[in-house]
Symmetry: C7
Subunit: 96 residues, 7 copies
């Protein structure tokens, strides 16, 4: 598989299908003002550099996360649809 | 229950119904320019990273808070309507 | 009385009536471009966090203050109309 | 006289009349793009807090200053028209 | 070959052709909201200066990278089309 | 002469006439997108306060400088047209 | 020749003619979204002051550089057309 290493505070996500999401108990209401989506963290950047120190990301590879639907940039890696977002576009980690 | 861990300075809130609010003595007038709402803190992020140090949030799990009505992102967790907001969108803690 | 603890650099104010204001000698001219109002500080937040240190507010509970008329968020606490503003929206403390 | 203590980096000014200004030799041309006005400093705030330190204001009580005409908020103190401005809206101190 | 030394946090990129990209397994879907492109790093700046320290870039000469299609400034070096972008416009490094 | 002491990083300038400018060899082409003008520094502020330290201005009293034509605020001091600008609006010092 | 000393992080450039540029192998395509131009560094400012320290510029007098066509302010020095730009508007140094 092609290896995509996000830069800085970016994260590579694999969007999760609706079926998988309902199992997990997290549903986004149709009336939601800003619809978040669920995804899986495939790769993370090294973090943002602040005052010469690199601040590691809070999300880790394998985490399931909620992110803003209109965030990031879509790419296709080995036939799979993926998304590169900044960590600030990730709302929460879902633990099950 | 699905476990939602907010990222950074985000907070997971459960909005409180109007009946509960009137009991507590806090009423938002109909004429209010920007209507705040009351909610219960279900989970809090680790805080914002500033100059390499993580600044813990001021609100704690269990707090009842006032927040801007149009803040945040709605999600449904195990059938319950919830909201993920940034702590800066929370106006005050209500103690009774 | 319900206890409202403002967050961060926010302040809970009780607006003062016009009669009380004229006694104090501070009158806002009708022609004023941006009309300030007088209020009483009911509760203050712990302050803003900067570089990991909390900067306490300059206004104290009991102070009478001038604030921008269109600032903040209106709430009603135990039947009283109150306002939550950021300290930066407070122009001055009135001492009599 | 009512005592108005400006907050932070704000300054309480008493605008000076046109007659007084021409005596001092400072005239604002009619064609000026942004018309400054002359005023007297009545009270000053403690200064802005930066990195936990309070930076005292450069203007002092009694200074005559030039400030942007459309700056600040008008109030009336004991029948006198006054203005609360931020120090950054003051262009210069006039010494005579 | 003319030697182009990018300034600060800028990077000189050689855009890669579509054929090369499909071999690598990274495809940008036609429906993508913001289309990233693949390129090769030809030269990098010394980095951005923050608080008097130079922060070296994360990308290195020879890296294959994904960058926003509408980023940067096009130039032609010895007949080759090149692009100068800021590092923040680079989304990820592709390792194969 | 009235003494105008600019505040912070502001500078008091006396605009120079066109005749004087052509002698000095600096001409602003008619087609210039943003026309700079030449002036003489009459007084300078103490500088901007950053992190509690005052950063002195680079221009000195007596310098001839180029500044953006539409910068600053016009005032008249003892019948002379002057300009108060921020130092960042000054492009260069002219030495002859 | 009149001596123009740019202030802060500004640079005095002499634009280079098209003929000279093609010799060097750097050509800007007609279709370029934002057209950079080639110029020679005639004088540089002392640098930007950050946290009380002056950060020297990366470009030096004599460097040939690429800069954004619509950057800066045009002036004429002793009959020569020149340009004052901020260093951040310079994309790269050309070494031949």
């Amino acid at each position: 598989m092609a290896n995509v290493q996000p830069l800085g505070d970016r994260v590579l996500l694999q969007p999760l299908e609706a079926e998988e999401k309902t199992k997990g108990g997290i549903i986004v209401p149709d009336s939601a003002k800003e619809k978040p989506q669920e995804g899986k963290v495939i790769a993370v950047g090294k973090g943002k550099v602040e005052d010469g120190k690199t601040v590691a990301l809070e999300v880790k590879v394998g985490n399931r996360v909620l992110y803003g639907k209109y965030s990031g940039t879509e790419i296709r890696v080995d036939g799979e649809e993926m998304l590169i977002v900044k960590e600030e576009d990730i709302l929460a980690i879902i633990k099950k």
